[in-house]
Amino acid sequence: MTIFSNYPDSDGFFGDYGGQYVSETLMPLITELNELFHNEIASPDFHQELAYYREHYIGRPSPLYHARRLSDYCGGAAIYFKRDELNHTGSHKINNCIGQILLARKMGKSRIIAETGAGQHGVATATVCALFGLSCTVYMGAKDIERQKANVYRMRLLGATVIPVSAGTATLKDAMNEALRDWVTHVDSTYYLIGTAAGPHPYPKMVRTFQAIIGDEVKTQSMARFGRLPDTLVACIGGGSNAIGLFSPFLDEPDVALIGVEAAGKGLETGEHAASLSKGSFGILHGNSTYIIQDSQGQIGHTHSISAGLDYPGIGPEHSFLNDKKRVYYDSCTDADALAAFQLCAQYEGIIPALEPSHALGFVLRYAPQKPTDHIIVMNLCGRGDKDIHTVAEALNITLV
């Protein structure tokens, strides 16, 4: 039997996936980061510092909330939301940023760079840079800047420089390319704060470690509330940071079903989607091997999702591994179903979710009715939807005043 908590191995591999596929300029730095990260997570002082910021700055623990009206609407399982949208900055991204910024400071770096899709990671990075007085540069696809204007302004208010990337498809992958180019150019002064559970080792493990607080809290809260673990956990997946954060403490609990939801865009058969596991194949991108969407020549393919945060042709390497091992079941949700879930959540629960977790909810709305009432589903509501109101209004043909 696979013991999932034993992964990754010391070279950063989850089975066939992961590794450190980067150019030589970056190798010495990620080797140094890897050593520092492993030393720090073994240190009680580091955990104490992390715990301090989690409690007093992020506002953790986040509630585990029973979405009663949505549960009644579905007429099946009890649906619970892990309310990570209530975190400071409005998403789960801050969990990882606080952890990595503490490491960057220990490395003596004065300048932080980041990539962002929906802007949530960019905002969280700009926030922790303001908190510690560090210079911050965020790369963001020009297309994403257009659809996430509010977050661009938030980053600028926080003192960050936002650089539009118009190369390629002008989305998250292109922002990541440009951040990597910046990093090799300024490797001495600069720390690259990757937001998703991808990139070269140790990033996928680091992001998982800092996001695992989500699943740790769900475990504690479930035992206190239900006297047992939940039956099913559901999370949306772009690169997969919120999902791995929720899942990781449960990977070696075989009775808990884990479900990841990819963006099916306009439909898996249309070619307009971002479902790397359903429609991708083995490849290497942005420092790790994983499933990626690519063409017959190994060129990275075009992706589409209404959600900028899920619009990425790859997926974190650990998800590829969990998919092959069948430990996590991966499904998908279309733009249209996510939009319907977005509106339903607002109207039934008084919570406006981000478009990313609306994909998870779109799946839950299909899944919950098939389950009995004593079945407990915990869905990670990993971000709030204020940033998305323009995109949603446009998709619904509504003119905002």
Binding site: D11, G19, Q20, Y21, V22, S23, E24, T25, L26, M27, P28, L29, A167, G168, K173, N177, L180, R181, V184, T185, H186, V187, D188, S281, F282, G283, I284, L285, H286, G287, S289, I292, Q294, S296, Q297, G298, Q299, I300
Partner: protein, 267 residues
């Protein structure tokens, strides 16, 4: 002795330095690329480096990004490139060819088939930008006679030099700037101590690339090393030119390499 080793040993005997032009395959179009490939050796190029275009060129500056993009739009295909190299080999048997690429297109083709087919078509070396020596054994079982070329950068420490040296053949590619291709000029004063340090660890020839933007910088770098790689500087004029001007630009770039050869050979 491999063909690349033979090339460096011949150069040394003649007291010459290597000039290694970098071409993005099928850029600005296939005909122009092939004309450069066929004629550069006559202008003094010692080895030709051919870039396999990848849609996500993370280590490259704007010139090679755009050239890669155009090559892909031109319908670049790896099997067709190998067929073109096979044809070139009927015409030129002495100038080594090194393929430079990111790993994903090779993985997609099948790594072993890729190396075997490349070797069969007349390629001598392979430089995979995002495959560090630590992962080479995981991805490659057999080199099929190809030299594995690695990069060394200003950030490479002594521990890594040892790892890189062990997995390397042909020559070492010293990246003269921390950064992407074609964006800034190399600086001889800052590079000298690095090259001297590397020399104490490795016996392979060292060539300097990234930031070789003109004749005088090429001369300075060649004086410190065993040769220079010139990439973005050759490709850049094609980006803003119309198709009708490609022929003229090819002639200018051949003259440029000729001039570099002349300067490098003048003591």
């Amino acid at each position: 002795m491999t063909t690349i080793q033979q090339t460096f040993s011949d150069l040394k005997r003649r007291n010459q330095k290597a000039i290694i032009p970098f071409l993005t395959a099928d850029f600005p179009n296939r005909d122009t690329f092939l004309r450069l490939l066929y004629e550069l050796p006559n202008s003094g190029a010692s080895i030709i480096e051919i870039g396999i275009p990848f849609s996500e060129p993370m280590a490259d500056g704007i010139v090679i990004q755009q050239s890669s993009h155009i090559a892909i739009q031109n319908g670049f295909s790896f099997p067709r490139l190998l067929a073109d190299i096979t044809a070139f080999r009927r015409h030129n048997t002495v100038t080594p060819i090194v393929l430079m690429t990111y790993i994903n297109p090779l993985i997609h083709y099948g790594m072993d088939a890729c190396l075997q087919d490349a070797a069969k078509s007349g390629v001598q070396g392979m430089l995979i930008v995002d495959l560090p020596p630590e992962h080479t054994n995981r991805c490659i079982q057999k080199w099929h006679g190809l030299d594995s070329i690695h990069m060394i950068t200003p950030t490479t420490n002594d521990r890594r030099l040892a790892i890189i040296q062990e997995g390397s053949g042909g020559f070492l590619y010293y990246v003269s700037v921390t950064g992407v291709t074609g964006t800034q000029s190399a600086n001889a004063t800052s590079i000298l101590p690095h090259i001297q340090r590397i020399r104490t660890h490795v016996s392979l020839p060292i060539v300097v690339g990234f930031g070789i933007t003109g004749v005088s910088i090429a001369k300075q770098m060649a004086d410190l090393s065993d040769g220079v790689v010139v990439g973005s500087h050759i490709l850049k004029p094609f980006l803003t030119a119309s198709t009708a001007d490609y022929g003229t630009i090819v002639n200018e770039q051949l003259m440029f390499i000729d001039e570099v050869r002349h300067h490098l050979d003048t003591v």
